[in-house]
Symmetry: C2
Subunit: 286 residues, 2 copies
């Protein structure tokens, strides 16, 4: 993995990076947090759902007695926009090894009234307190070396529709899952990529919440051209990721009735399956 | 499929069956529902998590303007017991095609105080209003005909630990995933079964919430002997199931750090993938 690691830019660290600054929350009152949604994590005009989940995840990490999201379920209610927002948290239960809480992100309408954007239920624990037994049966995705993969920066728009978020990500897609960008989708509903943050920040549980929702929709490889907004996204974080880039693999197996599921697996540089997610998304044909 | 269908007992119907009576809720005040958790859906002394989810799902179907759970995420806080319970619901957002709500199930401690058992976020819609396009890439599980599969009723305890719930289910396990019951688990983390209700009631979206959590834990096929309590369970219901028994397949790919995920797929007699679920469970070795 050392080759791959050295291709990342150096500099930013966990706690001192664009991602940390753009997901920062400030407690205004007990359990109530002010935040500013950055325009830097948008695709077209939509704020990325994984970035939003990381903001909520950070507020819950402060509100709950345990530091890490073990499982976090988000239902997306209305479309978020860059700008001020408030996160209201509530503790449901605190236990010795796990605690459960709830959080909602609100923005403001023209009359200054709060509009709820996302509601989240999450159970937190301490990843560092887990036993280190690993009996993972899944295998890391087969993906070519990073220098044989392609991102938005490579050449004249092999990945169309680039947006602000592409400047903040190190995203290198497996050419085998890039057919959609060249007009010939594979029909397979699979996407694979190397994933990092452009400023070289390593990963932590919060950036894993971003990683699961940062690839182009698998629906593109099914020939869908349109918008695939997330209805619900649940992420399991299973291990603190090792330094270095991640490999993310996404699949869709059930595209029917105008909806589809999308599963993501996130593998770290030590070949650990560090996060799994599933979302239900709606297919809005363009 | 006609052979399989005719092996089910006849009589009960959707709306008039044990499952319907045992998941019934009575509105006491706007959005607040009384219910009685039945001892009939317990395994050892634990109330089945899918049955509990169906009770919450029924309350939300009443509280929300849409009838069917499209995606429902449950976080399990404390262990439920048979007996009285109250479900408190809250509407988060209502839209034209989807609405989102929240529900909590409470029971009472020795002093009569409410103790929260489960908290749920769910987005509901109308399955009958969906377009009928199906581009499902997944294939139904390969499972032998029902008469070659085994349930708790077959012979001298091929499936140990039978409990009240086994009398209410028609559960026939694929012999290839029954090694654990014979002392030689496959090591594969897979379980497959035919699934129905013992009184012959056909399936609806609420009984699919039961179906995803009714098989023995896949962990048994990994050689785990112990308790595998659910931390969080999310179910996507994708289609109203056709009459007749279901095929349920469950898999575990990431058993590590004392936790595992378990994915379920539920197929109906018309070969439609009608529900998908994923849960995070904790492994408590016996």
């Amino acid at each position: 993995m050392s080759e791959a690691v050295t291709t990342q830019a150096a500099g930013a660290t966990i706690g001192d990076s664009e991602f940390d600054r753009d997901t920062a929350v400030t407690e205004r009152a007990p359990g109530v947090y002010d935040t500013e949604l950055s325009a830097g994590w948008t695709i077209i005009n939509a704020v990325n759902g994984g970035y939003l989940l990381a903001v909520l995840g950070r507020a819950l990490a402060h509100a709950l007695p345990h530091p890490d999201p073990f499982t976090i379920s988000a239902h997306y209610l209305t479309a978020s926009r860059p700008g001020p927002a408030v996160v209201r948290t509530e503790v449901a239960r605190t236990g010795r090894t796990l605690s459960t809480g709830q959080a909602s992100l609100f923005q403001y309408d023209e009359d200054g009234r709060e509009v709820e954007r996302i509601r989240v239920l999450a159970t937190y624990g301490d990843l560092d307190a887990l036993p280190d037994d690993v009996r993972t049966a899944a295998k890391p995705p087969a993906i070519p070396p990073m220098e044989q993969c392609f991102g938005p920066q490579d050449g004249p728009a092999p990945v169309p529709g680039s947006s602000a978020i592409t400047d903040r990500l190190m995203l290198k897609l497996d050419p085998a899952t890039l057919g959609w960008a060249l007009g010939s989708p594979s029909g397979k509903g699979e996407m694979r990529a190397w994933f990092g943050l452009a400023d070289g920040r390593d990963h932590d549980p919060l950036s894993l919440l971003l990683a699961v929702d940062a690839l182009p929709p698998t629906a593109f490889e099914l020939g869908v051209k349109g918008w695939v907004p997330t209805v619900e996204l649940t992420v399991h974080v299973r291990c603190r990721p090792a330094p270095g880039p991640l490999r993310v693999s996404t699949t869709t197996r059930n595209f029917a009735g105008g909806f589809l599921e999308e599963d993501a697996e996130v593998w770290d540089s030590a070949d650990r399956l560090v996060a799994q997610s599933r979302q239900l998304a709606r297919v809005k044909l363009g």
